[in-house]
């Protein structure tokens, strides 16, 4: 198909045209954008051929579904009958034996189930966090596809080696992530680390009010800033290149940034047990170790560090060096 016979919008919408998702005006616009109707037909046939395998995704229908629905509706809302035993109603007070049994039950519950509950909750939050990161990867890919292979986090600094020496206002900030939210590339919830209690999703910002995350509780994942310094394309990256990570990357005892307060050895948002990392192949892995060496290097975050505070030697020494920003 020649590029002159259609505009970009029409190229994107052939899919919707083939599936019959458009109204009459939109269909007419697509048809009029093709000077040769045979080209549109050919495009539609190609789309249909690639979609055809989807028809195999069929589930076996359950037996008597309609009958069971009707039965449930006929049964109406289920109700619980309250006990009417007179013995129960005799005294509103618990006996000493009842109190002992209750105390034992509570002790058993706290001792046995609470640790299990906490473990399950941590696993659940870690898993939800990983899914958020994976969605963030998909959103990044959508953004890259729609923006000439430019990744969304463009910090506006020339070199990852020197940004921390520049005035604070020149450093990239999380406001650049708004491009993902504002462009509808993914659900706003993906910016919230599920392991952070009290965090809440980003609201959809308007371009007029585009600004940094308005509340600390909106802070979430850190992007690999270096990737966006120029229009990198995914195939230039190693599949093991980290794209994003939890809010606080890993810092170990030998290579660290001096900060007020205790030195962090692991992301606190997962109880100090490790950190979820999103890689360039959109896989997400949880790294339980206090140091991480993708591509023979570590991930660092240079948040809230000024020249005078900086004592490490984290200037990039190779193309695999990765720096995270908040």
């Amino acid at each position: 198909m020649s590029g002159d016979s259609k505009n970009n919008q029409a190229r994107l919408d052939v899919l919707g045209y083939q599936l019959g998702l458009m109204d009459g005006d939109e269909r007419s616009a697509i048809e009029s954008s093709f000077t040769n109707p045979n080209e549109l037909d050919a495009q539609c046939r190609a789309v249909a051929a690639w979609l055809a395998p989807l028809a195999a995704d069929e589930f076996e229908l359950p037996a008597n579904l309609a009958a069971r629905i009707e039965a449930r509706i006929a049964a109406g809302p289920s109700t619980l009958k309250l006990p009417t035993d007179e013995a129960t109603a005799k005294s509103p007070f618990l006996s000493g034996r009842d109190l002992l049994a209750l105390a034992a039950a509570i002790t058993l519950f706290v001792g046995v189930f609470l640790p299990s509950y906490r473990q399950a909750r941590n696993r659940s939050m870690q898993s939800a966090c990983a899914n958020n990161l994976r969605d963030l990867g998909w959103a990044t890919d959508l953004y890259r596809s729609a923006n000439s292979d430019v990744l969304p986090f463009a910090g506006g600094v020339s070199s990852p080696a020197v940004w921390y020496r520049r005035p604070q206002q020149s450093a990239p900030t999380s406001r650049d992530l708004f491009r993902l939210v504002d462009g509808n590339y993914g659900p706003s919830e993906i910016f919230v680390d599920s392991a952070s209690r009290g965090d809440y999703p980003m609201r959809q910002p308007s371009p007029e009010t585009l600004d940094d995350f308005p509340d600390p509780r909106n802070s979430s994942y850190g992007f690999n800033r270096r990737l966006s310094l120029r229009p990198w394309v995914i195939y230039e990256l190693s599949t093991r290149t980290p794209l994003a990570a939890d809010m606080t990357p890993l810092v170990d005892a030998n290579r660290h940034l001096r900060q007020t307060g205790p030195m962090m050895v692991n992301s606190p948002v997962h109880g100090g047990r490790g950190q979820n990392i999103l890689y360039a192949d959109y896989s997400v892995r949880f790294h339980p170790l206090p140091t991480l060496k993708p591509g023979e290097d570590d991930i660092y975050r240079l948040h809230d560090v000024s020249d005078s505070q900086y004592t490490g030697y984290e200037s990039p020494r190779s193309m695999t060096d990765t720096f995270m920003t908040p």
């Binding site: 690639w50 989807l54 076996e60 659940s124 590339y185 195939y235």
Partner: protein
Amino acid sequence: MNYGADASEGRADERLLAQFLDGDEQAFTQLVHRYGHELFQFVARFVRDAAAADDIVQDTFIQVHNSAQGFDMSRRFRPWMFTIAANKARDYLRTRGRRKEVAFAFDNNDGDQTNFQDFLADAGPAPEDEVEAEERRDAVRKIVARLPDHLREVLVLAYFHRFPYKEMADILEIPLGTVKSRLHAAVTKFAEAYKREMVEKTESGA
């Protein structure tokens, strides 16, 4: 199987619902028979679990039954019912703790692709049927299952149920542009992965 909106039946669904609200329980039964299987396929394809889909569809119809009084008769019944089902399916996925983490194996040498049309131009015709039907079905189901939830639900609504863009935006409660971009992404991801699977199976079978 595709389920398109049946324009020839006009507003038959809404009429049935009105009859039900007037006290005709048989009208509701007709709606259950009309949409039970379609709704089941939608939910099953979305949550990837037939047993859960069975429960969700039952719950959906019960909610429709109980909430019918509040239905705005100027709207369409089918998208409203799908909205309820989609919300319940999403609640289920959240409750289940999301799907098992499975990394999507991307071929990063395909960094050039930007949309489905470009993919078509680069990839040429769809793979020939050199792979057994059973293998193809397994591959399709695996690929669809691995799509992120928000891409899979758009793909299912668009391909299998042929909801117009605007109705999908209402059902999913997202902007129209987001529906289009998600559908585009979903189809591209599916086509890429399917192509890769078929090539691998053909080569391994050779």
